[in-house]
């Protein structure tokens, strides 16, 4: 039972992380490789505020979300200068800078040692060290995220975002302010990535830079692609499916040293297989060769 609760909490965190990625990547067609970096900023904000300064969750969670959204403005600025593959490299470089700072700013982040002893949230007098209660909290926040993002997906904002992805010039000629639409999409996306990061830090109690590497980004990307970019429920099912998929591996006898790479291999193969089968329709063809 405890194990199922653990899985449900992980699924909840990844639902928030993947669906928020779906806003910029799926709707906006922006190949944003910095999403996990923003998630890391959310996680580190909560970790530092709750250990060093002993702030409660009512302060830590909103602070994580806001700080993440602030960094989104930087990514937005990068996306305005660069398009297509240039933005992919730019966002990758941004996330690499974040990782380098997390590793090297030892006085703040303890570098590769990570931050241990993050306390579970403490409010409304509920004991969140009990995972069932923590799951309840995650569940409520997933519902809130889903309601907000569902409204975003149904709004005219999402149509503007899709329009600038398919044809920026045509969208602009119809009066769509591309700068504003992109910035807003990054803000919304990062707000919830920060929330996911905050919950991750609270749940795992210990974070270090290795949780936020490129392989994590590829995992989030796999969820978005397996679920079909831009599809709200597709990405939802893909998140549940992909988080649970490697779990049976736990029950066969393999050493933990092989388990990590094996999961990585599994996800990369699935990602490649889906792209292979759907290569004609996965992304609208923009490039004229």
């Amino acid at each position: 039972m405890e194990y199922l609760i653990h899985l449900a909490i992980l699924v909840g965190i990844y639902l928030i992380l993947a669906q928020s990625f779906n806003v910029t990547f799926g709707l906006g067609g922006l190949f944003n490789l910095a999403h996990v970096a923003v998630y890391a900023i959310g996680a580190y904000t909560t970790a530092l505020l709750s250990t060093e300064y002993s702030y409660g969750p009512l302060f830590c969670i909103p602070a994580s979300m806001l700080l993440s959204a602030l960094f989104a403005l930087l990514i937005g600025a990068i996306s305005l200068k660069l398009s297509h593959d240039y933005f992919a490299i730019g966002s990758l470089a941004f996330s690499a800078v974040v990782t380098a700072v997390l590793i090297n700013w030892k006085s703040l982040t303890r570098g590769v040692l990570g931050i241990p002893g993050i306390p579970r949230p403490d409010f409304l007098g509920v004991d969140y060290y009990d995972n069932a209660n923590f799951l309840l909290l995650v569940g409520v926040l997933v519902v809130v995220t889903y309601v907000v993002l569902w409204l975003v997906f149904q709004s005219s904002f999402s149509r503007r975002l899709r329009a600038q992805a398919e044809h920026p010039h045509a969208a602009q000629s119809l009066g769509i302010d591309i700068k504003r639409v992109r910035n807003e999409s990054f803000m919304i996306s990062s707000l919830f990535a920060g929330l996911a990061g905050s919950l991750f830090a609270y749940y795992i109690n210990y974070i270090d830079p290795s949780s936020f590497g490129l392989h994590e980004m590829v995992f989030v990307l796999s969820i978005a692609i397996v679920g079909r970019p831009g599809s709200f429920w597709g990405v939802t099912f893909a998140a549940v499916f992909l988080v649970l998929l490697p779990e049976p591996l736990r029950f066969i006898e393999i050493s933990p040293a092989v388990l990590g790479p094996m999961r990585q291999l599994l996800y990369a193969l699935i990602l490649f297989a889906v792209v292979w089968w759907k290569r004609e329709t996965l992304f609208p063809s923009q490039r004229v060769v």
């Binding site: 067609g29 190949f31 600025a77 990068i78 200068k81 660069l82 398009s83 297509h84 593959d85 240039y86 992919a88 490299i89 730019g90 990758l92 470089a93 941004f94 690499a96 800078v97 380098a100 700072v101 590793i103 090297n104 570098g111 590497g213 490129l214 392989h215 590829v218 990307l221 692609i225 040293a257 092989v258 990590g260 790479p261 094996m262 990585q264 291999l265 996800y267 990369a268 193969l269 990602l271 490649f272 792209v275 292979w276 290569r279 004609e280 996965l282 992304f283 609208p284 063809s285 923009q286 490039r287 060769v289």
Partner: protein, 296 residues
């Protein structure tokens, strides 16, 4: 002792490695207009294969080198055929995703076979430093600089003075015209990609001798190679090679020099590549050495 000459030599050493590692990335971009996120991983896999045959199976140096070259050819043909060519004429996002997937596949396989710990190719006596004036340099490092000069010179000759090179340049400059004149894009991409993979694998082996190797070095060198390429201009091979040496220079000078009693911690050395990428992309996206051509 003045530290500057030593820093310059160190910059030359890292620049040579970056140049070998990044020239293939740039050639491939010039021809196919795809960014290969797995380029550094090809380098890493080449280095590990060399480790396998020379250290674990005990082949001699020449035999190991030839086997690794053969392996790099097969690896190049296979990855290009499966992960890049089927997607290269569709949306640009597809090859970004497939090469990212490839990079993770290669890293996972190497981690499963060799483990995630640091491995090193022992250079024995060749790793002993020799002092020339005030500069310490090992024979391996001399080999790195010398062979980079020879190989890049060979590449220059190939591209500018042979029929093959003329075809490659024609395809990068005007693919339609070149193809209508009977230059095969797919044959050329195999050749260019194989050359790039060979150079990268060689660079990987040099890194294995000079420092050490780890499955995660793939991503690190992919990003370094991107930084060098962006400095020089995407797809501009000589710009990329110049960019490699600039990157080596910036990294070594930035951590070696004092700025009024304050010096930058060595851990940030790697971060410079990323900062360079961001700054150049934001202020001069066409690179330092290219006139703006591409419509964005």
């Amino acid at each position: 002792m003045d530290i500057l000459p030593q820093l310059l030599v160190n910059a030359l050493i890292s620049g040579s490695i970056y140049a070998l590692a990044s020239s293939g990335l740039s050639l491939t971009y010039g021809l196919l207009r795809i960014l290969n996120f797995a380029h550094g991983h090809l380098m890493m896999v080449g280095a590990y294969f060399f480790f396998l045959v020379s250290v674990q199976l005990g082949f001699g140096l020449v035999a190991s080198g030839l086997l690794t070259a053969l392996f790099a050819f097969v690896l190049a043909a296979l990855t290009l055929r499966v992960f890049i060519l089927p997607f290269s004429r569709l949306s640009f996002m597809l090859t970004l995703v497939t090469t990212l997937a490839l990079s993770n596949i290669l890293e996972a396989l190497v981690s499963m076979i060799f483990g995630v710990n640091v491995k090193s190719l022992s250079a024995g006596a060749a790793a002993q430093s020799i002092a020339i004036y005030d500069v310490y340099i090992t024979p391996i490092q001399m080999l790195i600089i010398g062979s980079a000069l020879v190989l890049l010179g060979g590449l220059a000759y190939l591209i500018h003075h042979t029929a093959l090179g003329r075809r490659i340049r024609a395809l990068s400059e005007n693919p339609h015209a070149a193809e209508s004149l009977g230059v095969s894009r797919s044959v050329m991409s195999y050749i260019v990609y194989a050359i790039g993979t060979l150079l990268a694998a060689y660079a990987g082996i040099l890194v294995g001798y000079e420092t050490n190797m780890q499955p995660t070095m793939g991503s690190a060198y992919t990003i370094k190679a991107f930084a060098a390429m962006i400095l020089g201009g995407l797809g501009n091979i000589w710009g990329t090679i110049a960019g490699s040496f600039i990157l080596g220079l910036v990294e070594n000078l930035s951590i070696g020099l004092d700025f009024g009693g304050y010096s930058i911690p060595a851990g940030y050395k790697d971060a410079f590549a990323f900062v360079i990428i961001l700054v150049v992309l934001l202020f001069r996206p066409q690179g330092l050495f290219t006139a703006r051509r591409r419509e964005t």
